[in-house]
């Protein structure tokens, strides 16, 4: 085992790493927006919106991610005018899948805020939206941040599924390098693992720091 295989292939590793990071950030941002909206549907006063939110969440949360990829790449084009390949398909699949977990985290955060807070807000004449944005969500943030960071960490690792769909991110890079250097495949995979850690460990530390900050801001 020779660590120099990592150093020698640094440009390939970095390119793969950059793509994995980019997938995490773009799909993460998309999932936060979509997930927050779905969470709002799930606490809406309208039963039909709540039902839609529930079906959306349960469907995506309980489907293997690989299957969600298959749907965006092969099934979607058959029923819609949209064609997604490679990177775009990966962003879409990861966003949809992750948004269900975001919605769940945000919803449980919303539920952790006492029902009396929302009632008091409604009693002074705030609309549903105002109640959510001015009273409930600011208090939900405390309990939502730790699970959200966990969702993002899972997303960072889940980007590796894109390797099976013609996206040369970190995992696909590793596989290629391992094939090209059969004697050093273990070292190559160690390199891949290290690069994932570069994303996930700071995310975990960010979670801790944010948790301490919102704990003080009370």
């Amino acid at each position: 085992m020779d660590p120099s295989v990592i150093a020698d292939n640094m440009p390939a590793f970095l390119a793969g790493f950059r793509l994995s990071l980019q997938l995490t950030l773009v799909a993460g941002a998309g999932a936060l927006v979509v997930g927050a909206l779905v969470a709002m549907l799930r606490v809406s006063p309208l039963g039909s919106l709540r039902a839609f939110g529930a079906v959306y969440t349960e469907l995506l949360r309980n489907t293997p991610l690989t299957l969600v990829f298959f749907f965006t790449v092969y099934v979607l084009p058959q029923f819609t005018p949209f064609r997604f390949f490679g990177y775009a398909a990966a962003v879409l699949a990861l966003t949809l899948y992750t948004s269900a977990f975001v919605a769940e985290a945000v919803r449980s955060g919303i539920n952790s805020v006492g029902v009396g807070q929302a009632e008091a807000a409604r009693a002074i004449g705030l609309t549903f939206g105002q109640t959510l944005t001015s009273v409930v969500l600011p208090q939900a943030v405390r309990s939502v941040i730790p699970p959200l960071i966990n969702v993002i960490i899972a997303l960072a690792k889940n980007t590796s599924v894109a390797a099976g769909f013609a996206v040369v991110e970190l995992m696909a890079t590793g596989r290629r390098l391992a094939q090209g250097n059969p004697g050093e495949s273990i070292m190559v995979l160690v390199g891949v693992a290290l690069f994932y850690l570069v994303i996930t460990i700071p995310a975990g530390q960010l979670a801790g720091a944010l948790e301490r900050r919102v704990a003080f801001a009370r």
């Binding site: 006063p45 309208l46 006492g114 009396g116 807070q117 009632e119 008091a120 807000a121 409604r122 009693a123 002074i124 004449g125 705030l126 609309t127 549903f128 105002q130 001015s134 009273v135 600011p138 208090q139 009370r218």
Partner: protein, 263 residues
């Protein structure tokens, strides 16, 4: 529960003139699943009137209060506020809720906002009052309920009595036509009950229309025109406070009063 309101010449509250019907409930029914919690409730509260609602636990007092600003929906019957039926969900409902203030047993002050912000939020968001104006109004109201010196603190830093007075100021800030109180003093330590009741008596004197769920007989005697006794989802008896507490007509009311008086 003893007469906890301090010395005050038993003002003949019942003679205070009251105006036209402001809150009108007629034939109101409400179920929670198979539980029939409000049964054919007819109740009219006139402008400027103070009505005390009393009754055993589980009789539907809170539910009654909460239907008046539609925190609970009703199954049948009508509720009008100043002649207008309560709208369904939406902006019209939000507007109406601002017209009927509510004070909760557990205060429910916004935990992440200062006392001052608690009193300005509704004005700015629901009534589109300019922030500077909202602050002025809020400080006046906090002054009136005696907690102006706590304006920059967070609710958790206040005593229960102070929090409840802030909650009253928060409700008043919306310039409501009527105020609903659901057991506003029953979560308070005994020594803080009077500071809240005194504020409420002051509001009554100033002509605020109030529906107050409470077992504080002293308050009922000092401030209410009418006591409404509920049992098992029904209005069993209505009378002026003196008559109700000294000579209740119904067996159920006599029974109930004997229980709360021996405690």
């Amino acid at each position: 529960m003893a007469d906890s309101v301090t010395a005050d010449p038993a003002a003949p509250s019942a003679t205070r003139p009251t105006g036209d019907p402001l809150l009108v409930l007629s034939g109101v029914n409400k179920h929670f699943g198979s539980l029939h919690v409000l049964r054919d409730i007819d109740l009219t509260v006139h402008r400027g009137e103070v009505v005390v609602v009393i009754g055993p636990s589980g009789s539907g007092k809170s539910t009654l209060c909460r239907t008046i600003n539609r925190l609970e929906t009703i199954d049948s019957g009508t509720i009008t506020i100043d002649g207008e039926p309560i709208p369904a969900e939406g902006r019209a409902l939000a507007r109406l809720r601002a017209d009927v203030g509510m004070v909760f047993q557990s205060f429910n002050l916004f935990a992440h906002k200062t006392v001052l912000e608690n009193v300005t939020l509704g004005q700015v968001k629901a009534k589109k009052v300019k922030p500077a104006q909202a602050r002025t109004t809020a400080m006046e109201l906090l002054e009136r309920v005696g907690v102006a010196n706590q304006a920059e603190k967070y609710p958790a830093q206040l005593s229960g009595g102070q929090q409840q007075r802030v909650a009253i100021a928060r409700a008043l800030a919306m310039k409501p036509k009527a105020l609903l109180f659901d057991e506003p003093t029953s979560a308070l330590d005994p020594e803080m009950i009077n500071e809240v009741l005194d504020v409420m008596v002051g509001l009554a004197r100033d002509g605020m229309t109030m529906v107050v769920v409470t077992h504080e007989m002293g308050f009922a005697r000092r401030a209410a025109q009418r006591v409404v006794f509920m049992d098992a989802g029904q209005v069993v008896e209505e009378a002026d406070p003196e008559t109700f507490f000294t000579a209740p007509r119904s067996e159920r009311a006599r029974d109930f009063l004997s229980k709360i008086l021996t405690h």
